[in-house]
């Protein structure tokens, strides 16, 4: 027999905003549930290293799922005639539907990039449903710097351009193997999906006017951002932290926008103390 990894993948169907969504999820470990949310235009494979880390899985049930339209989760029936566009409300409802479907009781939730942003929304709108939120590369306000229409048009390869847009978001110090594995997921995204995600990440998800209302005594907030992140920069992370009373922010030197997949060995040194704190 081969030496199997401890990750187990399964499919199920859940209802989100009137659609029956066939979802792919992976999990490993036992203990407190830790739900992990992937970045825009990617999928749950980004968390594979965490799921194979005994220091984490001895204490946490680590669960990651592909959002509808992503990875091995299907788009809703009728997708051909829809333009995919992730909104704040839809994203919040999708994460809550997933946690309900699995019967998770006050899970911790960690998301990266757009996932890092939505966990802040969750801390604001549903603080009692989550034990704590960890926002990786997540800010309450960002500034767009390129035209999203480039991501979905017939004369540009959507997968290649998505990967090329984000390739500089991996820190130069990160191992090449993991840099290109991270980018491979971007080359595999469905047409228009990264663009639809960025609608939430760059436009719909701004809430710096409301983030000061997050109550970290009900739901602790941790912010972890990479030094080389060009969108959720260290400055924007600090600005977000300054608006959320009690939020704990850390800038991770030598890491970019994809800490868990671009440099898992370095990332765990920042994550493990937080996970220890959350379960105590």
């Amino acid at each position: 027999m081969p030496e199997f990894e401890p990750i187990v993948g399964r499919y199920f169907t859940m209802n989100v905003a009137g659609d029956a969504c066939r979802i792919y999820m992976e999990e490993a470990g036992r203990g407190l549930p830790l739900v992990c949310l992937h970045t825009a235009g990617a999928d749950a494979r980004q968390y594979r290293h965490l799921m194979c880390d005994r220091a984490i899985t001895d204490h946490y049930r680590v669960i990651a799922f592909d959002l509808p339209w992503h990875g091995k989760s299907n788009p809703p029936v009728g997708w051909r005639d829809r333009e995919y566009r992730l909104t704040t409300e839809l994203y919040i409802e999708t994460v809550r539907a997933f946690c309900r479907a699995l019967g998770l009781e006050r899970p911790a939730v960690m998301g990266c990039s757009m996932g890092g942003r939505v966990v802040l929304h969750l801390a604001l709108t549903h603080p009692d449903e989550f034990r704590a939120v960890i926002a990786l590369e997540g800010a309450d306000r960002l500034e767009p710097y390129y035209d999203l229409d480039w991501l979905h048009r017939p004369d540009v390869h959507g997968g290649e351009v998505s990967a090329a847009f984000v390739s500089g978001q991996v820190a130069p110090q990160s191992p090449d193997e993991f840099r290109w594995e991270t980018l491979w997921m971007y080359t595999q995204g469905g047409p228009g999906v990264f663009k639809g995600d960025l609608f939430f990440y760059w436009y719909d998800g701004h809430f710096d006017d409301r983030s000061p209302r997050i109550d970290t005594t009900r739901c602790p907030v941790y912010l972890l951002s990479g030094e080389y992140d060009s969108s959720c920069t260290p400055e924007r992370t600090a600005a977000t932290a300054s608006r959320i009373k009690g939020a704990r922010a850390t800038v991770m030197p030598g890491i970019g926008h994809f800490p868990m997949s671009e440099n898992p060995a370095l990332f765990r040194t920042h994550l493990l103390p937080i996970l220890d704190e959350i379960r105590r």
Binding site: D155, V161, G168, P172, S230
Partner: protein
């Protein structure tokens, strides 16, 4: 010629995989390093010449410009943040891009790697 610019042709052409990825690229673009502009000419992924722009009519499909110190930092083996990647420089407002962006975007990773090629020293 700026030392980084001077190395682009030889470094790109020495990388077969990079030339292969650029096999559908045949064009000229302008590279601005401070006040100096260079015409970079590419034929099927190979850089055939990098010449200072001498005539006002010598131009390219698109132009990529940044200050000299920005390129010097970009060409270091491990540049500091905001200088480590063309698109990161764009996000930080350090580089300006003009002209017909379609061929640039269609081959974005190729052009990123062409510009970063002097790092291979």
């Amino acid at each position: 010629m700026s030392p980084g610019v001077d190395h682009i042709r030889e470094r790109v052409n020495a990388r077969d995989a990079l030339v292969r990825r650029g096999r559908y690229v045949s064009l000229a673009f302008l590279l601005g390093v401070g006040d100096q502009e260079y015409v970079v000419t590419i034929d099927r992924g190979r850089v055939t010449s990098v010449e200072p722009r001498r005539l006002a009519t010598s131009t390219g499909r698109f132009t990529i410009r940044a200050a000299t110190p920005a390129w010097e930092e970009f060409w270091k083996p491990v540049p500091r943040r905001d200088h480590h990647d063309l698109w990161s420089m764009l996000a930080a407002g350090i580089v300006k891009i003009d002209g017909d962006l379609l061929p640039l975007i269609q081959n974005l990773q190729y052009f990123k790697d062409v510009l970063a090629a002097p790092r291979d020293a």
